[in-house]
């Protein structure tokens, strides 16, 4: 980051500049604080999962028994790619490359939208097989499998499994959706040339949010799908 942009604002802050603050501009500081609060929100959800899973005392469904891990692994890859394209968008505007900014923002939006789309598809498949927030539905494919192998499918914990799975991944999906909506707004602003090499705060702030949501997913994918 260069530090040589003496802008009009610096000169207009007469006669003395304000007290030194965090050293970062307020929008970015506000986003960091918001992300801290979001950490606490996911802590509530993940903490609930840990308490319920390890306090249940009954077998939990084994990894891959209920969920389609390869599909979600692919989805995870898509989300990580969208983080890369977010970095490319940020780097483009830092170099003053408007075309690059628009292209990589669009890629990021598409990546996020694809992730949500695959997640919706996954939810439809899962509920079709019989996994609902309340557990396995009676007479469904999953209920039949679970009756045959109650340990592998964690029959006794099915209610808690459905509850925690849908709440954790659902709220993450909600966060990605909000991110895509905000990203669309940033994209349209970028189309109007709203960001310059001197001021691209909006891109950096949405980027922070995007990387955070990506990071949360890596944790959720690990604990909800892999272990």
């Amino acid at each position: 980051m260069t530090h040589a942009h003496a802008t009009t604002a610096d000169m207009m802050r007469a006669p003395y500049p304000a007290e030194p603050g965090a050293g970062i501009y307020s929008n970015k500081l506000g986003m960091w604080v918001f992300l801290a609060s979001d950490v606490m929100f996911f802590t509530a959800l993940i903490g609930t999962y840990i308490i319920l899973r390890f306090g249940a005392g009954t077998p939990w469904p084994q990894p891959g028994a209920v969920l389609n891990v390869p599909l979600t692994a692919f989805n995870t890859f898509v989300l990580i790619c969208s983080s890369v394209s977010m970095v490319k968008a940020f780097a483009s505007i830092a170099d003053g490359n408007q075309k690059g900014l628009r292209f990589w923002l669009l890629m990021t939006m598409l990546g996020g939208a694809a992730f949500v789309g695959v997640q919706v598809f996954e939810y439809i498949k899962l509920s079709g097989h019989g996994l609902l927030p309340s557990g396995f539905t009676d007479g469904s494919t999953l209920a039949e499998h679970a009756a045959g192998d109650p340990v592998k499918y964690g029959l006794a914990s099915a209610g808690l499994y459905g509850s925690t799975f849908y709440s954790m991944t659902g709220f993450h999906g909600f966060h990605v959706t909000c991110g895509v909506v905000c990203m669309t707004w940033v994209y349209f602003k970028a189309l109007r040339g709203g960001y310059t090499q001197q001021d691209y705060r909006g891109v950096e702030v949405i980027g922070l949010y995007w990387h955070f949501v990506d990071l949360v997913w890596i944790i959720l994918f690990t604990i909800a799908y892999l272990i």
């Binding site: 307020s26 500081l29 604080v33 959800l45 209610g159």
Partner: protein, 589 residues
């Protein structure tokens, strides 16, 4: 990125129409006043609910005057039904904590005071600030709607313990319970948006010379409170969402029959709930610190220790939540650690009380109305704090858990503490808000009557609790061992009606002074804060040129200011140096 800046934000504010100026305003002062009126309304609602609770406890089975207005589902023949009584208890707690005391302390004064105290034009994010108010308003409306849906409002107590709250077939309420959850989620969002605004503003928008240790203690307290809010509210939001799912889409988080854990709710709730306790008292401590220094005409005693005490209380507040759950079958070793951390909180609290007394010691005390209320705060907080030490000790808590002793304690800190500090703050910053003074004489009458009747209501509750009077019972006369205490209950009820009636003196003083109050001078309390360098009320955008700060806010009776006993923060003495030029981030927006 630190030097990326936009074209300078020149403060010029066009005259605006009524709607933009007073309803959908982004001016932090108007938003504070909006919070003030809405929260005072909910304070009244909570008070009306409390009067009905007191009637039932004092005169169980007797028709309540005015109960004819209530529908059959709430009272039959003027006698309150048990199903309605438990709604009263639940909603009194909910409204008072979430929609009266918390927004009065934080919503009103963090908005109104922070930019004025630290010397800036507005909040860091004025539009997010407006969204924060309207979300809080929406949350209040949703909560209030609970009374008007089938089966009425939630019946699970303000702490919403599961499984009663999670299973409509147990509590008999479905819609009211759902509305409670939705309202809390919306309120949590409002609090987070507000708090991140306060944090960014205090960190990044201080006037030149307003170093960290020149910030008034009220602003320090509001800043630390905002940090608590931004980290605590999301946990409650998460818990309320899980509770909502239990009621609506059939999840089993808190349902023991399907493997869920009711105790999980208690942990999530109190992990939020104990920081929340300090959200409800730290700002009050801050206001009182400012007002006591002003009323004593002395610098605050131990400014730095006050700041570190606020930080210490806020930190310890995160590791004590288990003391609400000593009776839940907690491992005694874990219980002991919660006991020790809770007892530790009395250390920074005692430092603060000591410092307030040290400030008043040999001061040239002026007992104006804010000072009277602030002094009452200190006295009442000592009682509430000491009873808190009793219940922090596990063996005592097991005896008094869920009795009126707890009710007495929490009202001593929330009413005797927070509300007395608020009466002080209302009177103190009223001229800044409305340009007029509240009546000094009626303020004093209100103070003394409140102080006396308040103690008549809540002091005997300690005795009730020690005698075993349970916290949420409908009819104490059903128990033989409580029958001898019934005269005490009647005494409390009559005192409570008196206390409620006395508050109309405040209401009348507040409303009449809006039009008839004495015009305020620019600095009516002869205070040092930056807010008094502005006209009353201050214009949108506050200063055209932000003042420069040369000292802390408590230079009263300083030998450097001959002729007056105060030395405002912006006055430059020949010996004062200009603040060093700093490389600051771009001014907001």
């Amino acid at each position: 990125m630190t030097s990326v800046a936009v074209a300078g934000h020149v403060e010029h504010h066009e005259p605006m129409g009524f709607w933009r100026k007073y309803i959908f305003s982004t001016d932090h002062k108007i938003i504070g006043i909006q919070f003030l009126f809405v929260s005072l309304f909910f304070l009244l609602v909570g008070g009306v609910l409390a009067m009905q609770i007191r009637w039932q406890l004092g005169f169980p089975g007797k028709p309540m005057p005015g109960a004819g207005l209530l529908p059959e589902s709430m009272a039959v023949g003027g006698v309150l039904l048990p199903e309605y009584y438990i709604q009263l208890v639940t909603m009194h707690g909910t409204f008072m904590v979430f929609f009266a005391i918390m927004p009065l302390l934080v919503g009103v004064y963090a908005n109104f005071l922070i930019p004025l105290k630290i010397g800036t034009h507005d909040m860091a994010f004025p539009r997010i600030n407006m969204a924060s108010f309207w979300l809080a308003f929406l949350a209040g409306a949703i909560m209030f709607a609970g009374f008007f849906v089938p089966d009425g409002a939630s019946r699970a107590g303000w702490t919403m313990y599961a499984p009663l709250s999670a299973r409509p077939d147990l509590s008999g309420v479905s819609m009211g319970q759902i509305l409670w959850c939705i309202s809390i989620v919306v309120l949590g969002l409002s609090s987070v948006l507000g708090s991140l605004n306060y944090i960014a503003t205090v960190i990044n928008h201080r006037a030149p010379g307003m170093t960290w240790f020149r910030i008034p203690l009220s602003t320090w307290a509001l800043f630390i409170t905002a940090i608590l809010g931004v980290l605590a509210l999301p946990v409650l939001q998460g818990a309320a969402i899980l509770l909502l799912f239990d009621q609506t889409i059939g999840t089993h988080f808190f349902d023991p029959l399907a493997g869920g854990q009711p105790l999980l709710w208690q942990h999530l709730f109190w992990f939020f709930g104990h920081p929340e306790v300090y959200i409800l008292i730290l700002p009050a401590m801050g206001f009182v610190s400012d007002i006591i220094a002003n009323g004593s005409r002395k610098p605050i005693f131990g400014y730095h220790s006050m700041v570190f005490a606020i930080i210490g209380i806020a930190f310890l507040g995160w590791i004590v939540w288990g003391h609400h759950m000593f009776m839940s079958g907690m491992n005694p070793t874990l219980g002991s650690s919660f006991m020790v951390s809770t007892l530790l909180i009395s250390v920074p609290s005692a430092i603060k009380v000591f410092n307030w007394m040290g400030t008043m010691w040999r001061g040239n005390i002026k007992f104006h109305v804010p000072m009277l209320n602030a002094t009452a705060f200190v006295a009442m907080f000592v009682i509430g704090g000491l009873s808190g030490v009793f219940m922090a000790a596990t063996p005592v808590d097991i005896f008094i858990h869920d009795t009126y002793y707890i009710v007495a304690h929490l009202h001593y800190v929330l009413f005797g503490g927070s509300l007395f500090a608020l009466f002080a703050a209302f009177t103190y910053w009223y001229p800044k808000m409305f340009g007029r003074m509240m009546s000094e004489r009626w303020g004093k009458i209100h103070f003394w009557l409140t102080f006396v009747t308040y103690n008549m209501v809540f002091l005997p509750m300690h005795n009730l609790g020690m005698a075993g009077h349970m916290r949420r019972i409908y009819d104490p006369t059903q128990y033989n061992f409580l029958k001898p205490l019934q005269p005490l209950n009647e005494f409390i009820t009559i005192s409570a009606f008196a206390l409620f009636a006395v508050q109309f003196i405040f209401a009348a003083n507040f409303i009449i002074s809006l039009w008839k109050g004495k015009k305020a001078e620019q600095n009516p309390w002869q205070d040092n804060g930056l807010e008094w360098t502005l006209p009353n009320p201050a214009p949108h955008g506050n200063w055209t040129k932000v003042p420069t700060v040369y000292r802390g806010p408590y230079e009263f009776s300083s030998p450097d200011s001959p002729g007056t006993d105060f030395l405002p923060q912006h006055v430059k003495l020949p010996t004062d140096r200009e603040p060093a030029a700093a490389t600051a981030p771009a001014p907001g927006h």
